[in-house]
């Protein structure tokens, strides 16, 4: 079980977190006014699932209960950056 560096709490075991899917471009919510079923399906069900760097959303449910974005390498589990949702710290 990997360690995940929470931007608020520091490195913690991954079981403290919930994976919330890909963030950034891959996980972006289409405009509901104009979204086609195809776009909405991609948003709901399809992931890029890259072999390499992936931008992901995580929720620290057993800690600070904050959502944050992490750049994680899916092969090595290295995390090179994290960003707290809504900015700060």
């Amino acid at each position: 079980m990997m360690l995940l560096p929470c931007p608020w709490c520091g490195p913690r075991s991954a079981t403290e977190f919930r994976f919330c899917g890909e963030a950034g471009e891959a996980g972006a919510r289409p405009d509901p006014a104009t979204a086609t079923p195809e776009q909405w399906r991609r948003y709901l069900y399809l992931h890029a699932n890259p072999r390499g760097w992936s931008t992901e959303s995580w929720y620290h449910g057993s800690g600070c209960r904050r959502y944050f974005t992490a750049e994680r390498h899916t092969l090595t589990n290295e995390v090179r950056s994290t960003t707290a949702a809504g900015g700060a710290p």
């Binding site: 079980m1 990997m2 360690l3 560096p5 929470c6 931007p7 608020w8 709490c9 520091g10 490195p11 075991s13 991954a14 919930r18 919330c20 919510r29 509901p32 006014a33 979204a35 079923p37 909405w40 948003y43 709901l44 959303s57 929720y59 449910g61 209960r65 904050r66 959502y67 589990n77 707290a84 949702a85 809504g86 900015g87 700060a88 710290p89």
Partner: protein, 962 residues
């Protein structure tokens, strides 16, 4: 050539005189029983050593062919020594220490160990060849249960007790700097060196004592062992765990350690997060595959040396030793020293060999290359080693076969920075060389652990808490000396037959047949034959299987490769994985009252709630005709504050919220982004920027995270603060025609008249002297009702006051069951009961609520498309034509062709209507009111039901608006 009969040893003749390294306590004697017969052993004996000392040679019967089996490795791995001890099956008999009064039985032997009827399998072996099940029992399928029943009686393993055990299992977390897996000379030296460098160390050893192979060595080894043991004991930074196994290595050195033989605890799982891991697992001696290799009396050199030197047990009377290395030579010397007649030493390094072992029920003679037969009851083999590289493989290293040393070897260069390997697993050497290797590896492990600590401490966080001191900067990397491994002949099988896997009873010939049938990759061969899949998990067998495959296919060992070493390295009980039962439950503050008044408990998620107080139908009638009170504390409650709450509610709910006035409450439904109903509840506006939002009891946590997700990620600019207050309030619903009268007797400063406090309104007031209670005029039951949220500490007080004040009104407590009936009569759907994970909004009877003209809300596009498509299932009411039949929930509804067209989602006998009523999901073409449909019970019985409006009682809602 004459074959001398083997004379049975008498009860004590197997015990030798005192040995320098023995671990038994001769001053004390323990009584135990073996298949009902009383025998003696000493403290420090394993079950198997005590049995061998008592002259027992056949200890078990084999898995498929029920062949007699005895000791081979005399260690935890020994496949011939799995016992039933009391009601505990599959005990590792060559590892488990003897205790007074142990009831030890051989497994898988009926009617007896000596005369096993099922050994007839040995004659009918061809019927149990690999793939036997697949090939034989394909058809007819309906007979499979019968086949299975017969086959089960032939499968080995002990019997578990049907009575739940009373033993306690445990878990523990540990955060050492360094975990050293393996407590032999290199592991001990590594632990000492790391501790001296300031690291906290967990030293994990599978056996009962530290020391590894030093323990069964000569005087020099025993002296080195004493020195190392003293050095380990002198370091307070080392925690030693014996009879424990590091079971796996996961990312960032997450290491589960199974600890056995603890006082008062059957097994404990230690979850260690180590900064560095040193794998010092040593070497496992490999068996040799030849005809007769599974006969009792065929032992490995390490097995013999353990028996002689640790337990002072004579493993036989007359021995042949096949040796290819110094350990085999040492075994021969040990045997000669204790007076065993060593009839022949066959030196494989000089090209000598054996053909087969012969005998019935045990070795009686050994056939040597060239045809000579030597009478012997003991054949010792020392043909090479397997490096147990599991933890290294799980760290990213794939072992590569090295023909020069005849083993798969790890490459430390392929390991991640936080995993190191020390000692025999890397290479061989003298005790001093192994200690030097361990010492250098331990120092390097401590250095790298300090580096990991600095890296972790450098992760920036927003919270400024005191940090432990950061370790000193690195010294230069430690130079770890090379361990030179001498050449070793490649000896896996002589091709004459025998068993490659003695756990699973897979023979050389069966492997070759499977390979001919096309299972010619090592992973396929393993799965098809189950070789390496028994209790030893391939530690003894894998390399021999690879060798057989390589020979049969003409490939090299390196080309053939080996199988994947998966977690766990050693078996772990389900009890240890589960740990102590620790399921937290939640009670409302009124629980003591419920218990005193005969409430039948209902487990509802984490909550324990009153299901009813004896007669749910009477509770329903009380609510419909008088007044009832129910404890609804588990209802999820979120306190919302801030100017942007209306925007948030607009986004979360499918209905509109912009014009909710202060003092009003509104019902709302949330859907997920796929349009599936997520949760429902009412939300009241308590003040200008202050709302109280309720959720379903089971959805409280989910909804909170859902709300936070939108606020934190999509709209961090919105000013809304969410506080979960579910347990800050005790919640009581007062329902029934007399509820206004009852609440009015206890409320202060609030006019309950309908004009002042109407349906779907919220007020704050003092109730029974308790200030700041929140009252909602809503109800799930369809009656006039008030939901009172009381500061939790006063919940029991208010409840008792309501019961006392309403005595003349006939106030009745009601439970979850009555509420379910009441709401079903009223046609209120329950999310998760009348909907499931596929039920989109328009299938949940929410057509009027969903406002597709709102610019946006969660799930809106999906709901718009659902509406546009039409044709979706509807939520309908149903009444069986025979009013006495209540179709069980989940009964299927059939269309005219007999296909499934829906299901009953809720059903009860209605005390109010005196007939069965239901809610159901139904295809639209059958959903017209008045349609008759067929409902098929789970038992296959069909009944006819008529589609109705979902609201069975008071469709106009007059009762709740009075």
């Amino acid at each position: 050539m004459t074959i001398l009969p083997i004379t049975r040893s008498t009860a004590t003749s197997g015990r030798l005189g005192p040995q320098p390294g023995e671990v038994i306590d001769r001053h004390r004697t323990l009584d135990f029983t073996w298949n009902g017969r009383v025998l003696q052993g000493h403290p420090g004996d394993t079950l198997a050593s005590a049995l061998t000392a008592a002259g027992e040679r056949v200890l078990s019967r084999s898995y498929k062919y029920h062949r007699p089996r005895g000791l081979s490795t005399a260690s935890y791995l020994d496949p011939g020594a799995l016992f039933q001890v009391g009601d505990e099956p599959n005990v590792r008999g060559a590892h488990r220490l003897l205790r007074e009064g142990d009831d030890v039985r051989s497994q898988n032997t009926w009617p007896s160990l000596a005369f096993d009827l099922k050994a007839v399998n040995g004659l009918a072996g061809r019927f149990l060849a690999p793939g036997f099940y697949y090939k034989t029992f394909i058809k007819p399928e309906r007979l499979w249960p019968s086949y299975e029943k017969v086959l089960r009686t032939f499968v080995h393993a002990g019997e578990i007790s049907p009575v739940p055990g009373t033993e306690v299992y445990d878990k523990r977390y540990a955060h050492p700097d360094v975990v050293v897996a393996g407590g032999g000379p290199a592991g001990m030296a590594a632990a000492v060196a790391a501790a001296r460098a300031g690291a906290s160390v967990l030293l994990v050893e599978e056996e009962h004592q530290l020391g590894g192979h030093l323990r069964w060595g000569g005087s020099a080894e025993l002296a080195a062992l004493r020195e190392l043991t003293a050095a380990v004991a002198a370091e307070p930074g080392i925690e030693v765990m014996t009879d424990s196994v590091a079971g796996a290595r996961f990312d960032d050195n997450w290491i589960p350690i199974v600890q056995r033989s603890l006082p008062g605890v059957a097994e404990r799982l230690v979850k260690a997060r180590a900064k560095t891991l040193v794998v010092a697992a040593g070497l496992i001696e490999r068996p040799y595959v030849f005809a007769g290799n599974d006969l009792p009396g065929v032992l490995l050199s390490t097995g013999v040396r353990r028996l002689v030197n640790l337990h002072a047990v004579r493993p036989g009377q007359r021995a042949v030793v096949l040796t290819a290395n110094p350990d085999g030579d040492a075994a021969a010397a040990d045997l000669a020293r204790v007076g065993v007649d060593v009839a022949a030493v066959i030196d494989a390094r000089r090209g000598e060999g054996i053909v087969a072992a012969h005998g019935r029920g045990g070795v009686q003679s050994v056939e040597l290359t060239g045809g000579r037969r030597v009478e012997a009851d003991l054949l010792v083999t020392a043909v090479g080693w397997t490096a147990p590289t599991s933890l290294l493989n799980q760290s990213g290293d794939d072992p590569v076969y090295d023909p020069r040393t005849a083993r798969f070897r790890p490459d430390p260069a392929r390991l991640p920075d936080n995993v190191l390997a020390a000692g025999g697993i890397v290479g061989e050497g003298s005790t001093d060389e192994l200690v030097a290797h361990g010492d250098a590896t331990g120092r390097e492990a401590a250095r790298r652990a300090a580096r990991v600590a600095r890296r972790l401490a450098a992760v920036p966080t927003a919270v400024t808490t005191p940090r432990p001191p950061v370790p000193q900067p690195d010294a230069a990397p430690v130079v770890v000396p090379e361990l030179v491994t001498p050449d070793h002949p490649e000896l896996f099988t002589n091709g004459t037959g025998g068993f490659v896997d003695q756990c699973e009873d897979v023979g050389l010939k069966e492997l070759r047949t499977a390979i001919r049938e096309g299972y010619d990759s090592v992973e396929l061969l393993k799965r098809y034959t189950t070789a390496t899949m028994g209790p030893t998990q391939g530690k003894l067998e894998t390399v021999n299987m690879v060798a057989v495959l390589a020979q049969a296919t003409g490939r090299t060992m390196a080309e053939t490769g080996t199988t994947t070493w998966r977690p766990m390295y050693a078996p772990v009980t389900l009890g240890a994985l589960a740990g102590r039962p620790s399921e937290p439950v939640r009670y409302s503050p009124m629980q003591p009252w419920h218990e005193r008044h005969g409430a039948v408990p209902l487990v509802a998620g984490q909550w324990i709630r009153p299901e009813h107080y004896g007669d749910p139908a009477a509770e329903v009638t009380a609510v419909r005709t008088r007044v009832g009170i129910i404890d609804v504390t588990p209802i999820g409650k979120l306190d919302l504050r801030g100017p942007d709450i209306p925007k948030l509610l607009e986004l979360l709910y499918v209905n509109k919220w912009q014009r909710l006035a202060v003092g009003r409450v509104r019902y709302g439904v949330m859907c997920a982004e796929d349009g599936v109903v997520l949760d429902d509840g009412v939300t009241g506006r308590l003040g200008e920027d202050h709302y109280l939002c309720s959720t379903t009891s089971s959805g409280a946590a989910t909804v909170w995270e859902w709300v936070e997700n939108w606020l934190q990620t999509a709209h961090p600019e919105w000013q809304v603060h969410v506080t979960p207050v579910t347990t800050a309030y005790a919640s009581i619903n007062v329902a029934g025609p007399h509820s206004r009268e009852l609440v009015g007797r206890l409320v202060e400063g609030l006019d309950l008249a309908s004009e002042a406090f109407g349906y779907m309104n919220v007020r704050s007031a003092t109730v029974a002297g308790v200030a700041d209670c929140v009252l909602w005029r809503i109800g799930f039951t369809g009656e006039l009702s008030y939901e009172i949220h009381v500061p939790a500490a006063y919940g029991l007080h208010v409840w008792e006051r309501l019961m006392a004040a309403g005595e003349d009104l006939g106030v009745t407590p009601f439970g979850v069951e009555a509420q379910r009936i009441l709401r079903l009569e009223k046609g209120h759907a329950i999310v998760g009961q009348d909907t499931d994970g596929l039920t989109q909004g328009f299938s949940a009877g929410l057509g009027d609520l969903i406002k597709l003209d709102k610019p946006d809300f969660a799930g809106k596009p999906e709901l718009a498309w659902q509406h546009e498509r039409g044709g979706h299932p509807r939520l309908v009411g149903l009444r069986p034509v025979d009013p006495t039949i209540v179709p069980p929930e989940a009964s299927q509804i059939l269309d005219r062709d007999g296909s499934i067209a829906g299901r009953i989602t809720s059903s009860r006998m209605s005390p109010t209507l005196g007939r069965a009523i239901c809610l159901g999901q139904l295809e639209p073409d059958l959903a017209e009111i008045g349609t008759r449909v067929t409902v098929r019970h789970p038992d296959g019985r069909d009944v006819v039901a008529e589609v109705t409006d979902p609201v069975h009682v008071d469709p106009e809602g007059a009762r709740q608006r009075v």
